[in-house]
Protein backbone atom coordinates (compact mmCIF):
# COMPACT_ATOMS: atom_id res chain seq x y z
CA UNK A 1 0.00 0.00 0.00
CA UNK A 2 1.35 3.43 -0.97
CA UNK A 3 1.73 5.75 1.98
CA UNK A 4 0.30 9.25 1.66
CA UNK A 5 -0.64 12.26 3.75
CA UNK A 6 -4.33 13.17 3.64
CA UNK A 7 -6.16 15.97 5.40
CA UNK A 8 -9.92 15.69 5.07
CA UNK A 9 -12.36 18.56 5.21
CA UNK A 10 -14.42 18.92 8.35
CA UNK A 11 -17.03 16.18 8.46
CA UNK A 12 -15.08 13.66 6.37
CA UNK A 13 -12.83 10.79 7.42
CA UNK A 14 -9.28 11.10 6.09
CA UNK A 15 -8.76 7.34 6.43
CA UNK A 16 -11.64 6.37 4.16
CA UNK A 17 -12.56 9.37 2.01
CA UNK A 18 -11.85 8.83 -1.71
CA UNK A 19 -13.49 11.91 -3.26
CA UNK A 20 -10.75 14.55 -3.68
CA UNK A 21 -13.37 17.32 -3.47
CA UNK A 22 -13.78 16.36 0.18
CA UNK A 23 -10.07 16.63 0.97
CA UNK A 24 -8.24 19.75 2.05
CA UNK A 25 -4.93 18.18 1.08
CA UNK A 26 -3.62 14.93 -0.34
CA UNK A 27 -0.01 14.10 -1.15
CA UNK A 28 -1.38 11.89 -3.93
CA UNK A 29 -1.79 15.01 -6.08
CA UNK A 30 0.73 17.56 -7.25
CA UNK A 31 0.38 21.02 -5.76
CA UNK A 32 1.43 24.52 -6.72
CA UNK A 33 4.79 25.46 -5.18
CA UNK A 34 4.58 29.12 -4.30
CA UNK A 35 7.80 30.94 -5.21
CA UNK A 36 7.38 34.70 -4.98
CA UNK A 37 4.85 37.51 -5.23
CA UNK A 38 5.06 41.23 -5.73
CA UNK A 39 3.87 44.13 -7.77
CA UNK A 40 4.71 46.12 -10.87
CA UNK A 41 3.43 49.43 -12.12
CA UNK A 42 3.34 51.27 -15.42
CA UNK A 43 2.66 54.97 -15.94
CA UNK A 44 1.14 56.25 -19.16
CA UNK A 45 1.10 59.86 -20.32
CA UNK A 46 0.35 60.14 -24.03
CA UNK A 47 -0.96 62.81 -26.36
CA UNK A 48 -3.72 62.66 -28.92
CA UNK A 49 -3.60 60.42 -32.01
CA UNK A 50 -1.08 58.16 -30.29
CA UNK A 51 -0.64 54.41 -30.39
CA UNK A 52 1.53 53.27 -27.47
CA UNK A 53 2.95 50.26 -25.68
CA UNK A 54 4.85 50.17 -22.37
CA UNK A 55 6.25 47.17 -20.51
CA UNK A 56 7.72 46.46 -17.09
CA UNK A 57 9.28 43.22 -15.91
CA UNK A 58 10.78 41.29 -13.03
CA UNK A 59 13.31 38.53 -13.54
CA UNK A 60 12.61 35.21 -11.78
CA UNK A 61 15.72 33.30 -12.97
CA UNK A 62 13.95 29.92 -12.83
CA UNK A 63 15.08 28.78 -16.32
CA UNK A 64 11.58 27.45 -16.99
CA UNK A 65 8.16 28.79 -17.97
CA UNK A 66 6.56 29.06 -14.52
CA UNK A 67 2.89 28.85 -13.65
CA UNK A 68 1.91 32.40 -12.77
CA UNK A 69 -1.02 34.67 -12.00
CA UNK A 70 -1.24 38.39 -12.68
CA UNK A 71 -3.98 40.77 -11.59
CA UNK A 72 -4.39 44.33 -12.77
CA UNK A 73 -6.03 47.15 -10.85
CA UNK A 74 -8.48 49.10 -12.94
CA UNK A 75 -10.36 51.85 -11.13
CA UNK A 76 -10.98 50.19 -7.76
CA UNK A 77 -11.26 46.61 -9.00
CA UNK A 78 -8.57 43.92 -9.27
CA UNK A 79 -9.13 41.96 -12.47
CA UNK A 80 -7.45 39.17 -14.40
CA UNK A 81 -4.87 40.19 -16.95
CA UNK A 82 -6.07 40.47 -20.53
CA UNK A 83 -8.92 42.87 -19.94
CA UNK A 84 -9.34 45.86 -22.18
CA UNK A 85 -11.37 49.03 -22.06
CA UNK A 86 -12.56 51.62 -24.52
CA UNK A 87 -14.45 54.83 -24.17
CA UNK A 88 -15.39 57.82 -26.31
CA UNK A 89 -16.20 58.05 -29.99
CA UNK A 90 -13.88 57.12 -32.85
CA UNK A 91 -11.91 58.96 -34.22
CA UNK A 92 -12.10 62.00 -31.93
CA UNK A 93 -12.56 61.18 -28.23
CA UNK A 94 -11.81 57.46 -28.46
CA UNK A 95 -9.51 55.93 -25.80
CA UNK A 96 -8.45 52.28 -25.81
CA UNK A 97 -6.42 50.51 -23.09
CA UNK A 98 -5.36 46.89 -22.86
CA UNK A 99 -3.43 45.12 -20.07
CA UNK A 100 -1.30 42.07 -20.81
CA UNK A 101 1.15 39.79 -19.03
CA UNK A 102 3.33 36.79 -19.84
CA UNK A 103 6.42 34.86 -18.80
CA UNK A 104 9.62 33.73 -20.43
CA UNK A 105 12.15 31.34 -18.93
CA UNK A 106 13.78 34.24 -17.12
CA UNK A 107 11.23 37.04 -16.67
CA UNK A 108 7.61 37.92 -15.98
CA UNK A 109 6.37 40.84 -18.06
CA UNK A 110 3.39 43.17 -17.84
CA UNK A 111 2.33 45.51 -20.60
CA UNK A 112 -0.17 48.25 -21.26
CA UNK A 113 -1.00 49.30 -24.77
CA UNK A 114 -3.62 51.44 -26.36
CA UNK A 115 -4.37 54.41 -28.50
CA UNK A 116 -6.03 57.80 -28.36
CA UNK A 117 -8.30 59.75 -30.69
CA UNK A 118 -7.56 63.03 -32.38
CA UNK A 119 -9.04 65.22 -29.63
CA UNK A 120 -8.08 63.44 -26.44
CA UNK A 121 -5.01 62.62 -24.33
CA UNK A 122 -4.59 59.80 -21.81
CA UNK A 123 -2.76 59.81 -18.46
CA UNK A 124 -3.01 56.98 -15.94
CA UNK A 125 -1.08 54.63 -13.70
CA UNK A 126 -1.68 50.88 -13.72
CA UNK A 127 -0.76 48.57 -10.84
CA UNK A 128 -0.24 44.86 -11.31
CA UNK A 129 0.06 42.11 -8.68
CA UNK A 130 1.87 38.92 -9.64
CA UNK A 131 2.42 35.49 -8.14
CA UNK A 132 4.98 33.08 -9.54
CA UNK A 133 4.96 29.38 -8.73
CA UNK A 134 7.85 26.97 -9.15
CA UNK A 135 5.76 24.69 -11.34
CA UNK A 136 7.04 24.21 -14.86
CA UNK A 137 4.39 24.72 -17.53
CA UNK A 138 6.60 22.61 -19.84
CA UNK A 139 5.96 24.94 -22.77
Amino acid sequence: MTRKIVIAKTGYNALTETDSDNLAYSSAYNTLKYYVSGSLTINVNVGSSTSYSYTNSVNHNLSLFPFHIIYVKYSTNWEMIGTNYSTGIWPTTYIYRKFEGWVTKTKLYVKVRGNTGTDVTDTYSTDFRYKIFKNNLNL
Partner: protein
Amino acid sequence: MIIFYNKTTGKIVGTIDGRIHREEHLKMWVGNKEETDRIIVNWKKVGNEFEPDHKQKDLFIELDKKQSDIYKYRVDLKTKELS
Protein backbone atom coordinates in the same frame (compact mmCIF):
# COMPACT_ATOMS: atom_id res chain seq x y z
CA MET B 1 9.72 43.66 0.98
CA ILE B 2 12.08 44.76 -1.76
CA ILE B 3 11.13 48.06 -3.37
CA PHE B 4 12.39 49.05 -6.80
CA TYR B 5 12.33 52.69 -7.82
CA ASN B 6 13.41 54.92 -10.65
CA LYS B 7 16.87 56.36 -9.87
CA THR B 8 15.98 59.70 -11.40
CA THR B 9 12.43 60.31 -10.20
CA GLY B 10 12.08 58.19 -7.07
CA LYS B 11 8.86 56.73 -8.46
CA ILE B 12 8.25 53.15 -7.34
CA VAL B 13 8.12 50.74 -10.27
CA GLY B 14 7.74 47.35 -8.57
CA THR B 15 8.12 45.21 -5.48
CA ILE B 16 8.90 41.72 -4.26
CA ASP B 17 6.88 40.64 -1.23
CA GLY B 18 8.32 39.05 1.86
CA ARG B 19 9.77 39.67 5.28
CA ILE B 20 13.05 37.78 5.05
CA HIS B 21 14.49 37.49 1.58
CA ARG B 22 16.45 34.50 0.37
CA GLU B 23 19.31 34.69 -2.11
CA GLU B 24 16.97 33.81 -4.98
CA HIS B 25 14.83 36.87 -4.20
CA LEU B 26 17.90 39.07 -4.00
CA LYS B 27 18.88 38.01 -7.53
CA MET B 28 15.54 39.26 -8.87
CA TRP B 29 15.25 42.75 -10.34
CA VAL B 30 12.44 44.93 -11.63
CA GLY B 31 13.10 46.82 -14.84
CA ASN B 32 16.52 47.81 -16.09
CA LYS B 33 19.42 48.00 -13.58
CA GLU B 34 20.67 51.18 -15.25
CA GLU B 35 17.35 52.89 -14.51
CA THR B 36 16.16 51.34 -11.25
CA ASP B 37 17.60 50.84 -7.78
CA ARG B 38 16.17 48.99 -4.78
CA ILE B 39 15.54 49.21 -1.05
CA ILE B 40 15.62 45.91 0.84
CA VAL B 41 13.51 45.84 4.00
CA ASN B 42 14.14 42.63 5.94
CA TRP B 43 12.38 41.84 9.21
CA LYS B 44 14.34 40.99 12.36
CA LYS B 45 13.36 39.15 15.51
CA VAL B 46 12.71 41.41 18.49
CA GLY B 47 11.76 39.37 21.55
CA ASN B 48 9.17 36.88 20.37
CA GLU B 49 8.00 38.98 17.42
CA PHE B 50 9.40 40.10 14.09
CA GLU B 51 9.50 43.70 12.94
CA PRO B 52 10.93 45.60 9.95
CA ASP B 53 14.60 46.44 10.32
CA HIS B 54 14.09 49.98 9.05
CA LYS B 55 13.68 53.54 10.33
CA GLN B 56 10.13 53.59 8.94
CA LYS B 57 9.13 50.32 10.59
CA ASP B 58 5.57 51.41 11.43
CA LEU B 59 4.94 52.27 7.79
CA PHE B 60 6.32 48.92 6.63
CA ILE B 61 4.14 47.07 9.14
CA GLU B 62 1.12 48.73 7.49
CA LEU B 63 2.41 47.96 4.00
CA ASP B 64 2.89 44.34 5.02
CA LYS B 65 -0.88 44.19 5.60
CA LYS B 66 -1.77 45.85 2.29
CA GLN B 67 1.11 45.70 -0.19
CA SER B 68 -0.73 47.48 -2.98
CA ASP B 69 -0.64 50.73 -0.95
CA ILE B 70 3.06 51.01 -1.81
CA TYR B 71 2.20 53.09 -4.88
CA LYS B 72 0.87 55.89 -2.69
CA TYR B 73 4.52 56.62 -1.91
CA ARG B 74 7.71 57.48 -3.70
CA VAL B 75 11.36 57.18 -2.66
CA ASP B 76 13.16 60.27 -1.42
CA LEU B 77 16.37 60.04 -3.42
CA LYS B 78 18.45 61.70 -0.66
CA THR B 79 17.26 59.78 2.39
CA LYS B 80 16.18 56.58 0.58
CA GLU B 81 13.00 56.66 2.65
CA LEU B 82 9.38 56.54 1.49
CA SER B 83 7.59 59.85 1.39
